[in-house]
């Protein structure tokens, strides 16, 4: 394995190990997101058809907002001494971006997998004919969010207003992702093709990857 991928995987492994110990994502963000799913039905008139219609919008909203919380979790925020250490170890900034994205991706997919049964169970939306078709869209959606979260987190590292600022920067840029994923779901439930929306997701993910690679070096200096 090349030095680049060894470093990227080490960074991803470190993030997941820290998450396993601190449990901020699994123990705090995830239950909080689940709670948000419960609040919506309580605030409606109790109409079953209304809830069924709300299932998908609520799902996308909660995965976007809480996905950002997950990607920007405090325990995964590197301190200045930690960042300086990594720079002096000769860690390739691109490998760092890839590693951090990978770990956030794993957690975001986890968040999605937990929220889907919850929404299906409590909102009873119309069944999707072939749910497996959604898997690529969900994976591409989570990948894009992971990259955006990593970028926004690095841009705002060390700022006092970070917790609100980072999601504010990421959310409007995430809209093509939300659009691609949500329209994929609509197309699948109508039995239409999803090529357009898959292409939109792929193009957005690639553009974010380019942004991540190009800005990795200047971003490295934000923490030193």
């Amino acid at each position: 394995m090349s030095r680049f991928w060894r470093q990227a995987l080490q960074v991803a492994k470190r993030d997941l190990l820290v998450e396993g110990r601190a449990g901020e994502g699994v123990g705090i963000v995830l239950p909080f997101g689940a709670l948000a799913v419960f609040v919506v039905p309580l605030a409606t008139s109790g109409s079953a058809s209304l809830l069924a219609d709300l299932a998908a919008p609520v799902y996308w909203l909660v995965t976007l907002l809480f996905g950002m919380q997950l990607a920007l979790r405090q325990t995964a925020t590197e301190t200045v001494p930690q960042r300086r250490l990594l720079v002096l170890l000769g860690l390739d900034p691109v490998a760092r971006f890839v590693g951090r994205t990978l770990s956030a991706w794993v957690l975001l997919i986890g968040l999605q997998l937990v929220l889907i049964p919850l929404v299906v169970l409590f909102y009873e939306p119309e069944p999707v004919p072939t749910p497996a078709l959604m898997l690529p869209a969900l994976a591409l959606y989570a990948l894009g969010l992971a990259m955006l979260g990593t970028l926004a987190g690095d841009l705002t590292v060390g700022l006092r207003t970070r917790t609100a600022l980072a999601p504010m920067l990421a959310a409007p840029l995430a809209v093509p992702l939300v659009m691609g994923a949500s329209q994929s779901l609509i197309s699948i439930s109508r039995g239409e093709g999803i090529l357009t929306w898959t292409l939109l997701l792929v193009a957005t993910d690639l553009a974010l990857a380019v942004a991540g690679v190009v800005t990795a070096r200047p971003l490295e200096e934000t923490a030193t």
Binding site: R21, V87, L88
Partner: protein
């Protein structure tokens, strides 16, 4: 190999509009250990950041391990620089052993070297203790263990003696001795002038951002 390890000429650093360093000259020859002393706010820590290639000087010229400061050249030499700052660079959620092993894998050193360094600094028995629940002194020892493991050609210690007991002092002695033997260089910042003079070849004083 007579090129100096560090050579700074008339270095200035400003944070925003606030000048922190105004005119610093510094040379560290191969095999030399230099101490830096000065009052609070005189720019000692910033100087260390400049030498570590982490802070870009606003003016002046400098070379560290042959790489010109402020250029992409410094990327080549960073792996050969070891820094221990005020705050230890550890992940509080990882154990002491995991901290060192992570560094070893990223830097391309064997895991055995990490475990050996951990034992060398006297933390073998505490290997599985989370770093966040270890004392400040133990965390500092992890910083020092990293230097034993990676053998940097340029050793930078900020507040070298803070939080370390007499035993740990020996670790610094060993690191400096090995660095001298490798013909590397070291820069130590400390308040404890007495300990400093014992360990370094000469002391540089800075006041209000300038060497005096």
């Amino acid at each position: 190999m007579t090129d100096p390890i560090v050579q700074l000429r008339d270095i200035g650093v400003r944070f925003g509009t606030v000048p922190v360093l105004v005119a610093v000259d510094l040379t560290i020859a191969p095999g030399e250990v230099v101490g830096v002393a000065g009052p609070n706010g005189s720019g000692k820590t910033t100087l260390l950041g400049v030498v570590a290639t982490l802070i870009r000087p606003s003016s002046g010229t400098g070379r560290v391990l042959g790489a010109a400061l402020g250029t992409d050249d410094v990327r080549r030499v960073r792996r050969r620089i070891g820094l221990s700052g005020h705050e230890p660079a550890v992940y509080p959620d990882l154990t002491l052993a995991e901290n060192l092993r992570f560094v070893a894998r990223v830097a391309g050193v064997t895991v055995e070297a990490a475990d050996r360094a951990l034992a060398d600094v006297g933390l073998a028995a505490a290997a599985d203790r989370p770093a966040g629940r270890s004392s400040h002194g133990m965390q500092r020892r992890i910083d020092l263990a990293r230097m034993l493991m990676l053998e940097p050609d340029l050793v930078l210690l900020d507040e070298a003696h803070a939080g370390l007991d007499q035993d740990a002092e020996v670790i610094i002695d060993v690191i400096l001795e090995r660095t001298r033997r490798r013909r590397g260089g070291a820069l130590l910042v400390s308040h404890d002038a007495e300990r400093l003079t014992r360990q370094v070849d000469r002391v540089l004083r800075i006041e209000a951002g300038a060497t005096v």
